[in-house]
C-alpha cells in the first residue's frame, strides 16, 4: 500500500487516530493510577498517625480481592447495576479532561456534560442505596444528595466564571493561559481547589460514608464486585477532580512552547514525556497535601457542612456576577 504522506486528509486522520488513542491511553493509565494514589494517601496518613501504614499497592490488592469475590450483593437489579454504571461514567468523565497527555474528547458544551458527569457516580450509588431499604444506607444517600447539590452549585458557578472570562463553553478553552488574569479567575480556581478536596469525600466531608456513624453509609449494602466498582469509581472521581485542578493551574501549551524555544526540546518529547511527568508529580503532590489535610481533621456534621457549603456557594455566585461585570 502506498501511503500518500502529502495528503492533508491523511495527516488529519492520523492525527485524529493518534488523538483518540492518546485519550484512550489517558483513561487507561490514569484509572490504573487512581488506586495507587490512594495507596500513597493511606501511607502518608499512616505516617502522620505514627503508624507504618499499608503498602502503596494495598488499595489495588483490596479492589482486586473484591472484584474476584463475584457478586454477593442482595437487592433490586437497579441497585446492583449502579456501581457498574458509575464506573463507566467515571471513565467517561476522565476522557473529557486533558490528563497525562493533553488530548481529550472535546465538543461544544462539554463543560456542561463534564459538570453533570462528575457528580453522576456518587449520585447513582446514592440512588441505588435508597432501593435497598436499609436505613443507614438511605441516610447516607440522603446526605450524599444534599452535599451533591451544594457541590454542584459551587462547581457550576466557578466554571461559569471561567467560561465567562474566556467566552467559551469548551472545556479545553477555559484552561490556561489566562491572558487577563482577573481576580474572579483566581477566586474561581481557589474555589475549585477547595471543591476538588471536598467532593472527593475526604474528611471532614466524608459524611455520606461516615464509617463510625453510618457503618459505611451509601456503600454499606454493597459487597464483592459491586463494592469494588463503587470504591473504584470514587477513586477515579478523585483523580478527575485533582486533574481538573491541575489543568487549571498548569499552562501546558505555554510550557511546551517554552521548552522548545528556550532549550530546544522537541515537541513530541515535551508532549509525551515531560508534560506527563509533570502531571504525575503534581498528582502525587496533591495526594500528599490532601492526605495531610485529611489526617488533621475530624468529620463535620451534615448541617455544619451544608451551612459552610452554602456560604461558599454564595461567594461563588458573587464571583460569577463579578466576572459578568468584567472583573
Amino acid at each position: 500500500m502506498v501511503i500518500h504522506i502529502h495528503s492533508p486528509n491523511l495527516i488529519q486522520s492520523i492525527h485524529n487516530y493518534l488523538g483518540i488513542s492518546l485519550v484512550i491511553a489517558n483513561v487507561i493509565v490514569v484509572s490504573l493510577l487512581a488506586p495507587l494514589l490512594d495507596g500513597i494517601e493511606r501511607r502518608v496518613k499512616a505516617r502522620i498517625q505514627c503508624r507504618r501504614g499499608p503498602p502503596i499497592m494495598q488499595t489495588w490488592y483490596d479492589i482486586i480481592k473484591l472484584l474476584r469475590k463475584g457478586s454477593v450483593t442482595q437487592g433490586p437489579l437497579i441497585f446492583k447495576l449502579m456501581p457498574y454504571i458509575a464506573f463507566i461514567t467515571s471513565l467517561l468523565t476522565l476522557s473529557l479532561l486533558p490528563t497525562l497527555f493533553s488530548n481529550s474528547l472535546s465538543f461544544v458544551g462539554d463543560i456542561v456534560v463534564f459538570i453533570y458527569l462528575l457528580a453522576t457516580p456518587s449520585v447513582l450509588i446514592a440512588i441505588g442505596s435508597i432501593y435497598t431499604g436499609s436505613p443507614l444506607a438511605s441516610l447516607g444517600s440522603c446526605r450524599e444528595i444534599s452535599l451533591w447539590m451544594a457541590y454542584e452549585l459551587i462547581l457550576a458557578f466557578s466554571i461559569a466564571t471561567l467560561a465567562i472570562n474566556k467566552s467559551s463553553l469548551l472545556l479545553r478553552r477555559i484552561l490556561p493561559p489566562y491572558p487577563p488574569l482577573h481576580p474572579s479567575v483566581i477566586v474561581a480556581i481557589a474555589l475549585i481547589a477547595f471543591l476538588t478536596y471536598a467532593e472527593g469525600s475526604r474528611l471532614p466531608y466524608d459524611i455520606p460514608e461516615a464509617e463510625s456513624e453510618l457503618s459505611g453509609g451509601i456503600i454499606l449494602e454493597y459487597g464483592g464486585a459491586e463494592l469494588g466498582f463503587a470504591i473504584y469509581s470514587l477513586l477515579i472521581k478523585r483523580v478527575v477532580l485533582t486533574s481538573l485542578l491541575i489543568d487549571l493551574i498548569l499552562p501546558r501549551s505555554r510550557l511546551i512552547n517554552l521548552l522548545s524555544n528556550s532549550i530546544n526540546i522537541p515537541l513530541l518529547v515535551s508532549r509525551l514525556v515531560i508534560i506527563p511527568a509533570i502531571y504525575i508529580s503534581l498528582l502525587i503532590m496533591f495526594s500528599i497535601i490532601y492526605s495531610t489535610i485529611e489526617a488533621l481533621h475530624g468529620r463535620l456534621r451534615i448541617d455544619q457542612a451544608l451551612t459552610l457549603l452554602k456560604r461558599i456557594a454564595v461567594i461563588a455566585g458573587v464571583v460569577t456576577l463579578a466576572a459578568l461585570m468584567g472583573f
Binding site: 436505613p135 474528611l203 471532614p204 461516615a210 456513624e213 457503618s215 459505611g216
Partner: protein, 557 residues
C-alpha cells in the same frame, strides 16, 4: 486530711436511721434492717433530702437459711461520708415489696433485674417488664435463686423476638438501628433510634446480650479468694477496680485490716488503670468523630502507661494483684524512679496533645452542646462518674468514701456544669492529670509494712459493701459471705449500669450524626453492665434477633 470526717455528723445520720430499724456499722456503711413499707420513705430521704444517690439493688435468696428473701438497696450519702444499705426481709413464697422507682427513676433497672433474677415483685414499678432475661424464658424460673443449679441446661422454646421496640414511634418516624454490631460501638448492644430527617426523636435500648453468669459461677463453685480473679475479668478495661471493690467488700464484711503498703499499691494500680482507660476513651471519642490522627496519638501516649502496668504487675491488663486482705506483689524501690520518669512524660504528652486537639474546630464543634444532660436528670437517674461530674453533680467515691490510700493523698475532683460531651472530655482529661499526681504522691510515700493480712476467719452470712471510683464512675460490690470459705451472694454493679439509661435522655433531640459520640461519651462498658448470670442465652440467638430487627427497621424506613 480528707479521710477524717466529723464523727458527730455520722452519729446524726445513725440516729436518724435508727428510727427506722436496727443500724449496724459495716466498714464505711450503715446496714439498716428496715420494714418493707418504709423503703420508699427512706429512698426519698437518702436520695433527695440528704442529697445522696441510689447505687443499686440486690436481691438474695435466703430460703436455705431462714426461709425468706432479702432485698438490699444501696445508697451513697456523701454528705456523711457513708454508704447506707437498707435491708428488707421478705416472706418466702411470694416476696413483694413497694417499688422505689417512682421516687428515684434511676432504680428502674436495678429493681427489674432483681425481679428477673430472684423473683421479687415490685409493686408500683412503672415499667414492669423483663430487663435481663430473654422474653421467652420460663416465667417461674429465676436463675439466681439457690434452687437453680449453676450447671443446669435449660432448653428454651422459640426465639426471643420481643425487643425494645416502640411500634407507635416506629410508624411515625424512621427507625435507625445502632448495633448490635456497629463500628463505633465495639460491644454487642442495641439502640433503636427514631429519626425524623437527621434529628433523633426518641430512643430505646436493649442490652444484656453478653451475660456470662459470673455471679452464679462465683457463688456456686469458687472460694472467697478465687473471686477477685474472676471479678477482674468483668471488664476488659477497668478490671482491677472490680477486683479491688470485691476485696474491699469482703474486708469490710469480715473486718479485715489491710496493711498500709497494700493500700498504697492498690491506689497506684487503680490510678494507672484510670489513666489508660481515660486515654483510651479520649482516643475512641476522636475516632468516632472521624479524627483518626487524634485517636492514634492518644493510644500512642497511652502505650507507656500499659508498659508501666506490665513493669509493676507483670501484666498490661488484668493485673491479678489483689487478694482479700492485701496484694500479692510489691512495688520494688528501684523501679519507682523509672515510673516517676514515665509519668512525667505522660503528663507532658497528654497536656500537649489535648491542647492541640482542642484547637481543632470541627472536633470541638462536634462535642460542644452535644448530648446535653441536665443536673436534674443526672440526679434523677443516679448517673455516676465523669458523666455525672460533667453535669455538675459533685460526687467521687475516692473523696466521699475514701478507700485504699485515697485518704492520704491530695487531689482535686474536676466538676463541669455544661453537661455536654465536651465537658465529659475535659473532666476525663483533668482526671488523667490528677491521677498522675496521685500516683506520684503515693509512690513517694510508700509505707514499709507487710503486703497482706491473712489473719482472718470467714464468718458466714456477713454483709459487706465495697465501693471504688472506677474510670467510669462508682463501682459497687455487695458480698454476703457463705459457709465453707465461699461467698453466699456477690453482686457487682459496674458504673455503666447507671449511666446507660442517661444516654436515652441525651439522644432526644440530637442529630443522628451525633448519636455515636453521645453513646460513646458515657464511656459505656456494655459487658460490665451485663456481667451477671444467664446460663443458656446463646449468642447466636441474639444475633438472629438483631438481624430480624435490622430487616424490620429497613422496611419501616
Amino acid at each position: 486530711m480528707r479521710h477524717l470526717w466529723d464523727s458527730k455528723d455520722c452519729l446524726e445520720l445513725k440516729e436518724l436511721l435508727s428510727t427506722y430499724g436496727v443500724v449496724e456499722e459495716v466498714g464505711n456503711a450503715y446496714l439498716v434492717k428496715v420494714r418493707v413499707n418504709d423503703l420508699p420513705k427512706l429512698a426519698e430521704l437518702l436520695h433527695w433530702e440528704l442529697e445522696g444517690h441510689y447505687s443499686t439493688s440486690v436481691g438474695t435468696d435466703f430460703r436455705p437459711i431462714d426461709n425468706s428473701f432479702k432485698l438490699h438497696h444501696i445508697f451513697s450519702v456523701p454528705k456523711y461520708r457513708k454508704f447506707v444499705v437498707l435491708e428488707a426481709s421478705l416472706p418466702s413464697p411470694l416476696p413483694k415489696v413497694p417499688s422505689i422507682t417512682p421516687i428515684i427513676p434511676g432504680a428502674n433497672w436495678g429493681e427489674r433485674e432483681v425481679r428477673d433474677m430472684v423473683g421479687i415483685e415490685f409493686e408500683g414499678h412503672p415499667e414492669l417488664k423483663r430487663l435481663v432475661l430473654p422474653h421467652n424464658w420460663p416465667e417461674e424460673i429465676h436463675p439466681l435463686r439457690k434452687d437453680f443449679p449453676y450447671d443446669r441446661k435449660l432448653i428454651i422454646e422459640g426465639i426471643d423476638d420481643e425487643v425494645e421496640h416502640d411500634s407507635e414511634l416506629a410508624s411515625k418516624y424512621q427507625v435507625v438501628p445502632v448495633g448490635p454490631y456497629h463500628p463505633a460501638l465495639h460491644e454487642p448492644e442495641y439502640f433503636e433510634l427514631y429519626v425524623d430527617g437527621e434529628v433523633v426523636i426518641d430512643a430505646r435500648y436493649k442490652g444484656f446480650m453478653v451475660h456470662r453468669g459470673i455471679e452464679k459461677v462465683a457463688e456456686s463453685r469458687m472460694t472467697i479468694n478465687q473471686v477477685p480473679f474472676i471479678a477482674e475479668r468483668i471488664c476488659g478495661i477497668c478490671g482491677y477496680t472490680h477486683a479491688c471493690c470485691y476485696c474491699q467488700a469482703v474486708e469490710s464484711a469480715l473486718g479485715i485490716e489491710v496493711p498500709e503498703r497494700a493500700k498504697y499499691i492498690r491506689t497506684i494500680l487503680l490510678e494507672i488503670e484510670r489513666i489508660h482507660s481515660h486515654l483510651l476513651w479520649m482516643g475512641v471519642a476522636l475516632h468516632v468523630l472521624g479524627f483518626d490522627t487524634g485517636f492514634m496519638a492518644y493510644w500512642r501516649i497511652r502505650e507507656p502507661v500499659m508498659r508501666l502496668a506490665e513493669e509493676l504487675t507483670g501484666n498490661r491488663k488484668t493485673y491479678g494483684a489483689n487478694v482479700v486482705g492485701g496484694v500479692r506483689w510489691d512495688i520494688k524501690e528501684e523501679r519507682i524512679e523509672h515510673v516517676l520518669k514515665v509519668l512525667k512524660e505522660v503528663r507532658k504528652n497528654c497536656i500537649e496533645l489535648t491542647e492541640k486537639v482542642l484547637k481543632i474546630k470541627e472536633v470541638v464543634s462536634r462535642m460542644r452542646e452535644v448530648g446535653y444532660l441536665s443536673k436534674e436528670d443526672a440526679r434523677k437517674l443516679s448517673v455516676l462518674g465523669p458523666t455525672a461530674r460533667a453535669s455538675g453533680v459533685d460526687i467521687d467515691v475516692r473523696r466521699d468514701h475514701p478507700y485504699a490510700a485515697y485518704g492520704y493523698v491530695d487531689f482535686r475532683v474536676p466538676i463541669k456544669d455544661e453537661g455536654d460531651v465536651l465537658a465529659r472530655f475535659l473532666v476525663r482529661y483533668e482526671e488523667v492529670l490528677e491521677s498522675i499526681s496521685i500516683i506520684e504522691q503515693a509512690l513517694q510515700n510508700l509505707p514499709k509494712t507487710p503486703l497482706i493480712n491473712e489473719d482472718y476467719e470467714v464468718i458466714p452470712l456477713k454483709v459487706g459493701i465495697g465501693a471504688t471510683e472506677a474510670p467510669r464512675g462508682e463501682d459497687v460490690h455487695l458480698v454476703i459471705t457463705g459457709l465453707g470459705n465461699k461467698v453466699y451472694r456477690w453482686r457487682p454493679r459496674a458504673p455503666s449500669y447507671n449511666n446507660i439509661p442517661a444516654t436515652l435522655y441525651m439522644l432526644r433531640g440530637a442529630y443522628l450524626a451525633d448519636a455515636p459520640i453521645i453513646i460513646a461519651s458515657i464511656d459505656p462498658c456494655f459487658s460490665c453492665t451485663d456481667h451477671c448470670l444467664v446460663i443458656d442465652v446463646k449468642t447466636g440467638k441474639s444475633r438472629f434477633l438483631s438481624f430480624k430487627e435490622l430487616v424490620r427497621g429497613g422496611h419501616h424506613g
